[in-house]
């Protein structure tokens, strides 16, 4: 696979403590396109090793708008289904630029390890000094040890080590869309985390035509329904929860976006510093990056203040538990006190609800936001197909439900331009059909 690709698949055998590489076969891309289409195929190929498969789409890390997504595909240790969790922020693209489109991690290590994937090199390293640390401590330690503040980290906190059913794989310091207890799976494999960093180059089959098409799309998006909107607050408003904006307002510091994503979906709140101050806040940990709308609304529904809800989300991220699951399970148990909920994080257990087939993360809202998608038929069918397509090409799954400009046809066309592969709607339908089967 010559274009828009690192051309390589990394195979990590934790049991043997060895790494190897496979070429990314062009025939596989022609059949499965990429992203979740290929991670699922690799999962099935290596199924005996109960693999965790990371993968990027053909558009991940390009100039196609919102091309920030990578995916973790694995069997959920809670539901048993093969599920796909989003990896966004700046971490999704780092996988590809670190030298691999796909990483298959199979087997179980007999001691705690982490993976260090950088510029086409992969090392399995001793994580005994990281074991027992929370997510924030782990990310700080990895960046300090490996000597680069921009290393992107997928890791577990203590919840994953302890086998919690709601353990989540976090990204750097933040919560993620892992609703499938992949954090528990990391823990079962004695895998503390994955550190990513790279400065690769992706060739483009027809660079000028690719950029022409990407810029035309961006121009349409800038004139579209999502333009000027920002943060979790405007998403909540579009979901009928307009009061979130005033509830959260006193804490809001600044908004940010995932790689090349036109909508800033992160609302950063300051909890221990003045949110109006734009200079360095002095304190090392002034607040929290809020992206998980489901968790935020869940804690709000329990009657918590915005500050209590955000402090709880921060505590969940540090321990590596899924905050949305905490909100749901706490509500079911009748807990409404933030202190009591935080004290219960390490012992909280139960099965949380997942929409549809339960294979895509409800971290992405399950309805169109802002833009008119002219949805006909069942809304959930629309959402699952939209997720499948986004996860195949590498498109931010929240932005995917707010930008109708990002059509399936445009993703196919630009992928064709970028790769010279003859991909069409029939191939995409087959890939989506396989994912949803």
């Amino acid at each position: 696979m010559e274009y828009l690709s690192s051309e390589r698949i990394l195979i990590v055998d934790l049991e043997a403590g060895e790494v190897s590489e496979d070429d990314l076969d062009e025939e596989l891309v022609a059949e499965k396109i990429g992203g979740a289409g290929i991670t699922k195929a690799l999962y099935e190929q290596h199924q005996e090793g109960e693999p965790i498969v990371l993968g990027a789409g053909p558009l991940t890390g390009t100039l196609y708008p919102a091309s920030s997504l990578a995916v973790i595909t694995a069997g959920s240790p809670v539901t048993g289904h093969v599920c796909h969790a989003p990896v966004t922020y700046h971490a999704g693209i780092e996988l590809k630029y670190a030298g691999y489109d796909y990483v298959v991690i199979k087997g179980r290590s007999n001691k705690p390890v982490y993976l260090w994937i950088h510029d086409g090199v992969a090392d399995i390293s001793n994580a005994s000094e990281l074991w027992g640390k929370d997510l924030w401590e782990t990310t700080d330690a990895l960046r300090r040890t490996l000597g680069d503040d921009l290393i992107q980290v997928l890791a577990i906190g203590t919840a994953g080590e302890d086998g919690s059913d709601i353990a989540q794989v976090g990204v750097n310091y933040w919560s993620s869309g892992d609703r499938f207890a992949f954090g528990k799976l990391f823990g079962q494999k004695n895998l503390k985390g994955i550190a990513l960093r790279g400065m690769g180059l992706l060739e483009i089959a027809d660079p000028e035509a690719f950029v022409d098409a990407a810029f035309e799309l961006l121009s349409n998006i800038k004139d579209g329904a999502a333009a000027g909107k920002k943060g979790v607050e405007d998403i909540c408003t579009a979901m009928g929860q307009a009061d979130v904006k005033d509830w959260l307002a006193p804490l809001v510091h600044r908004y940010s976006a995932c790689y090349n994503t036109p909508y800033p979906s992160h609302t950063f709140v300051f909890l221990d510093a003045d949110p109006k101050k734009m200079t360095d806040p002095g304190t090392d940990e002034p607040g929290f990056r809020v992206t998980d709308v489901e968790a935020l609304l869940g804690f709000k529904k329990l009657g918590l203040s915005a500050e209590a809800a955000c402090r709880l989300m921060k505590a969940c991220a540090k321990q590596g538990v899924d905050a949305a699951a905490v909100a749901e399970l706490s509500g079911r148990a009748g807990k409404t006190d933030a202190g009591e909920i935080e004290a219960s994080l390490s012992s909280l257990t139960g099965t949380v609800s997942l929409p549809g087939r339960g294979i895509f993360s409800p971290w992405s809202p399950r309805k169109p936001l802002f833009g008119d998608f002219s949805v006909s038929g069942e809304a959930n069918d629309w959402w699952e197909r939209r997720m499948a397509v986004a996860y195949v090409f590498g498109i931010h799954p929240i932005f995917a439900v707010m930008a109708p400009e990002l059509t399936e046809e445009s993703m196919l066309e630009i992928t064709r331009i970028g790769t010279e592969l003859e991909l069409d709607g029939e191939v995409l339908n087959a890939v989506v059909g396989d994912l949803l089967s």
Binding site: P65, Y173, V211, S256, A257, M278, D280
Partner: protein, 123 residues
């Protein structure tokens, strides 16, 4: 004519950095970009943009824009500012300066690609 950056409008998406890298390498890469998002203070949500021009570095911080002459004595300080300038795989001073993408179809690519118009062209 030059590029103007409003760091407070910036949403930290790195599209400018990628577009500039594309201009330099005719592929998708970050290594050669002369405009870079500095993001080394992630827990503090403190980020901005740094641009290398012919003889100066433009450091657009949330609190304002600072212009530093390359080679001036205070540039040699081992300060946190220095760290930001080098908070990428390749130090800014080793990169080619901004040429406003003068031979490109779209003019300054960073201006074209910014989704929130935090980067503009001023005459």
């Amino acid at each position: 004519m030059g590029v103007k950056i409003d760091a407070l409008k910036c949403i930290g998406c790195m599209a400018c950095e990628m577009a500039c890298g594309y201009h330099r390498d005719d592929g998708f890469a970050f290594l050669s970009a002369c405009i870079v998002l500095y993001r080394g203070r992630e827990k503090k949500n403190y980020f901005g943009v740094i641009l290398k021009e012919e003889e100066r570095l433009v450091v657009a911080r949330p609190e304002g824009v600072e212009v530093k002459i390359i080679g001036a004595a205070d540039d040699e300080d081992a300060s946190s500012e220095k760290k930001e300038e080098d908070a990428s795989a390749k130090p800014m001073l080793l990169r080619e300066p901004c040429d406003l993408c003068e031979e490109m179809k779209y003019g300054p690519m960073c201006v074209k690609v910014c989704p929130v118009d935090a980067i503009t062209l001023e005459s």
